[in-house]
Symmetry: C2
Subunit: 237 residues, 2 copies
DNA sequence: ATATTTTGTGAACAGTCGTTGACTTTATAT
DNA sequence: ATATAAAGTCAACGACTGTTCACAAAATAT
């Protein structure tokens, strides 16, 4: 009986911080619950600034005031969501880039990968799509900067193709923004489909792939500004 | 003095309804005020389903209950706005189509016309852009049907070009949806600019025109499905 | 001239919202 | 063992929301 119950707790020094701490764990758990609750609420008809703090808290199984232990206000939560979504997107790009280039049917494989990724992260993309125009200035510019970076990275990827030597940086940017447009449009159409409508998804795939092929065909025929001026000078001389 | 003041009112039969009636006039006036109030409120950071009925009424200089004399609820007002915006857009298309085709610099002129039109109807396009994804299912599908029709009309226009004979209907649709994508993207960028930033607007014009040129170049090189199959059969035989 | 319909007003309702402050509980630090 | 700091709860506030009902004013119909 008299035995002292010794639940000896490891001090920070004996074990090097590999334990997340039961409190931090709990904190991260409800933080995540809040973020997920917001994402889930946006799957319906609501847009981000039409969902209330109380709704989010309720949906996360927590009292409204607990919200403030994690975010200053809804805007801060929104920015966190944008950050997460864009980070995930960048990671996909990095992986896709590291893979060896299968020169044959490159477009088909890329489109396939991208569509699969969107399907797997539907809620994030739903959020991005809505806030790309609906949201506060802060959210909007965050999303926009993300896609701008996306375009630039794609441009540098395109520059590695042998046939891209003739094109200037601006022209490459113009082309890759065109391609990103196709991806965005495809994404939007994809999100408006029931997730398991395979036939329609396949159609979207084909449509996007065709459009990209057409863009590449156009790029091959594109007369760079420099050449066009050369030609003009020749005609006049 | 004793003259009886006779403000004789024309009966419905003597003059054929060309008078709007002082009451109808009044009604149409506040109805318009409500619609405009909603549009104006959306110029800021708000999205359509985050603005309140009371806000709209207040902004229109009218008491909240008066709203119900004109619309059943906010959704009905929203649908009216979509309808108006799309009708305006279609009218622009019709006019542009009736003009004789100046074969030279056709793209430049078209882009110029369109950008000018967007600038002149900024509020409507702001609304369309936001509700294309933010809004209720009803609003969204209304917008979507409008753009789908837009794409189809553009496709029939493209079909009149001599070089378009080789292409199937599906391929023409694919191409015109690509072009509409460019227009939508241009519109969105335009709306995020201060209306008088001429330098940036010119840049957007050039970007869009280049992208369309590239699409046309690609279309010229496009191998229609039929020809591709013919070629394949030839190679095998 | 009188009756009727229409357009807008005013007060009031039940509900939700964001945010506050003072509290319990519980994990960490001393 | 005790103090401290953090995470979550509870009650309450003033403000705003959509919608209702009865009523005033004014245009139209009879």
């Amino acid at each position: 009986m008299g035995m002292t119950r010794v639940t000896r707790r490891r001090s920070r020094h004996e074990e090097e911080e590999n334990d997340t701490g039961r409190r931090d764990m709990r904190k991260q758990r409800t933080r995540r619950a809040l973020l997920d609750a917001a994402l889930e609420l946006m799957q319906g008809e609501q847009s981000f600034n039409s969902i209330s703090l109380r709704e989010v808290a309720r949906n996360a199984g927590v009292v409204p005031t607990a919200f403030y232990r994690h975010f200053r206000d809804m805007d801060e939560l929104g920015l966190t969501l944008v950050e997460e979504a864009l980070r995930a997107l960048r990671q996909m790009m990095r992986e896709a880039r590291s893979a060896p280039l299968p020169a044959t049917s490159l477009i088909n494989r890329s489109v396939q990968t991208y569509i699969g990724y969107v399907q797997a992260n539907r809620d994030y993309f739903q959020f991005l799509a809505k806030e790309r125009f609906g949201g506060s200035r802060a959210l909007r510019t965050a999303v926009r900067q993300g896609t701008a970076l996306f375009i630039s990275e794609l441009a540098t990827d395109l520059a590695r193709f042998p046939t891209a030597n003739r094109l200037s940086t601006e022209e490459l940017q113009m082309i890759s923004s065109l391609i990103v447009n196709i991806m965005i449009s495809t994404t939007e159409q994809l999100l408006d489909l029931p997730p398991d409508n395979d036939a329609e998804v396949d159609w979207l795939h084909d449509q996007a792939a065709q459009q990209m092929r057409l863009v590449f065909l156009g790029s091959m025929q594109w007369k760079p500004k420099s050449e066009r001026e050369k030609q003009k000078a020749l005609a006049q001389g």
